[in-house]
Amino acid sequence: MTAVELPGAVAAPRPPDEDLVLDVRDLRMRYGAVDVLHGVDLTARRGEVVALLGPNGAGKTTTIEILEGFRLPSAGTVRVLGVDPAHGDERWRARFGVVLQSWRDHGKWRVRELLSHLGDFYAPYATDRTPRPWPVDDLLATVGLTGHADTRVARLSGGQRRRLDVAVGIVGRPELLFLDEPTVGFDPAARREFHELVHRLTDLDETTIVLTTHDLAEAEKLADRILILAGGRIVAEGSPDQLARRVASDAEVRWTRDGERYVHATADATAFLRDLLREHGDRVRELEVRRASLEDAYLALVHEEETGIRTGRAERVWQQEATR
């Protein structure tokens, strides 16, 4: 698989695949005269966590709304659970869950009431393999809202509200879950709790998760595979490690010896460390090796998107790494 999609590069034809939960080819979206998506290719396999990473305005939400069937694309083929979202019926809709960016609905309802009500709609779609809906008490425990079962939704904190949104997203035991910017506006503690919740979900079932975020650290933490979306194109794709390795040129080695601080950049950190330790042994303290980070490359990209000044620097980084 080509891990980096260059503009203009042609995707190799893929054979049809049972395990492919999501299969998007050459997705294009145009509002009036403005192209928002210029041919996005995107796949996800059963059980995979895929992050769509990109700055604001990159086209993440548009992409995910097309996948959810809330928007019709201008061109391209889209298959979600084997079905074109434009023609998806209710049976298809019962197989995936949606967590959108901002929801303030059902404020007067109690948490348990809402989950049990929305769960009812999934009961006719239960199968032998997948009982639906998820029993409310188990669900409350999974998202950590057991203590708030009888709280009115409007009285939940931001983090609790988001966990309720996730609970609604998974009440039908979806095969596929969409999370659009799930942790925007979270404090660090709420963010960590949320990340733990996502990990629990992927451990529980073979739930495929597609999430969007503009936070690289979040994508690295949660995703098996990251697709970087910028200016309506996928500019890079791969596991966090692959991406990191692709942009990492030199490693930076820092240490102190006899109270003095040293910094050294090297292409071969292992060899350098071997020599360093052989020479100075235990006198080397506070040793630290840092790869020139994916973050730097990503930030350059975000900067270009947000300022609108395309220096080409970001693109060069990705291209350079691709040809290596």
């Binding site: 939400t61 709304e65 809330f70 869950g97 901002s102 609905d105 404020g107 009812d120 709609f121």
Partner: protein, 283 residues
């Protein structure tokens, strides 16, 4: 059970849950009881005046007319308002994201609004009985008439409310609908008979459902001889059925088309954009 019957039952439950929620909410209760109280006070002071040409209490004539007006407010404005608010906070999108959720949502709304309208009739009628004389509640004929006028009134107004609620996106624009309705109230003989109005104004009033809702309710609750002072000197049940029925058909033809179009366009970014606008209004 098929998915559709499941959704219908869930919708019914949804209506009942929302009914309980709204009647345990202070702000909502105030919204229901305050206008009722104002109307009752007005009728109290009108009880001594008489309907022109009779010695019947004007207050007692106003009560059934106001009940008819209540059906219009509840069915049309009530449903429109709910649709607009539910679109702004994402309730509707939530329904769209759930299998058969829109069906459940709509059934729930109809149950909720119908129940609120009926409760509205009761909380206005019952206190009125204590100080207004001449309403023929003991007569089975009254209940028979109520039994078709009230449901027909709701069927005529609810679909119109759904259409208005789908077309208007910004809650601020509700004034576009509310103001003409206030004008219509003056024309439709709710608080005073319109026999004195010029013929063409009477004609305008009789195009819209409000006049007929008031007339229908009067025909149920007022003594039979009061029909003499109505336009045409009769309760005109056939015409009531005809005009309200025509509005019902129009609404029922339009509403599914408009609702479907509105629901199709609903998406997360639209909700977010509306939210942003709402924040600007507050800030």
């Amino acid at each position: 059970m098929t998915p559709t019957t499941t959704a219908l039952r869930a919708g019914l439950r949804r209506g009942l849950i929302e009914l309980r929620a709204t009647f345990t909410n202070g702000q909502d209760l105030w919204n229901y009881f305050f206008p009722t109280a104002v109307l009752l006070v007005a009728m109290f002071f009108m009880r001594g005046s008489t309907v022109p040409g009779t010695d019947f209490s004007l207050g007692a004539r106003t009560l059934p007319s106001a009940l008819g007006m209540g059906l219009l407010f509840g069915g049309l404005l009530g449903l429109a308002q709910q649709l607009i608010v539910d679109r702004e906070d994402g309730t509707l999108l939530r329904a769209k994201a759930i299998p058969n959720g829109m069906l459940g949502y709509l059934v729930g709304k109809l149950v909720l609004i119908s129940a609120i309208s009926l409760i509205g009739v009761v909380i206005q009628l019952v206190p009125g009985l204590f100080f207004l004389d001449g309403l023929r509640l003991g007569d089975p004929g009254a209940w028979l008439t109520l039994a078709w006028v009230v449901p027909l009134g709701l069927v005529a107004t609810l679909p119109l409310g759904a259409v208005i609620g789908s077309v208007i996106e910004n809650p601020r624009n509700m004034g576009l609908v509310v103001l003409p309705i206030f004008g219509l109230i003056a024309l439709s003989g709710i608080f005073y008979p319109i026999n004195g109005l010029p013929g063409w104004l009477q004609g305008v009033a009789q195009v819209f459902p409000l006049y007929w809702l008031g007339l229908g309710m009067r025909s149920a609750l007022l003594p039979a001889d009061l029909a003499a002072v109505e336009l045409g000197g009769s309760w005109r049940h056939l015409e009531t059925l005809g005009v309200l029925g025509a509005w019902a058909v129009l609404g029922l033809v339009l509403a599914p088309v408009v609702l479907r179009r509105m629901a199709r366009r609903e998406s997360g970014s639209r909700v977010a954009a509306r939210r942003e606008r709402a924040m600007q209004r507050v800030g």
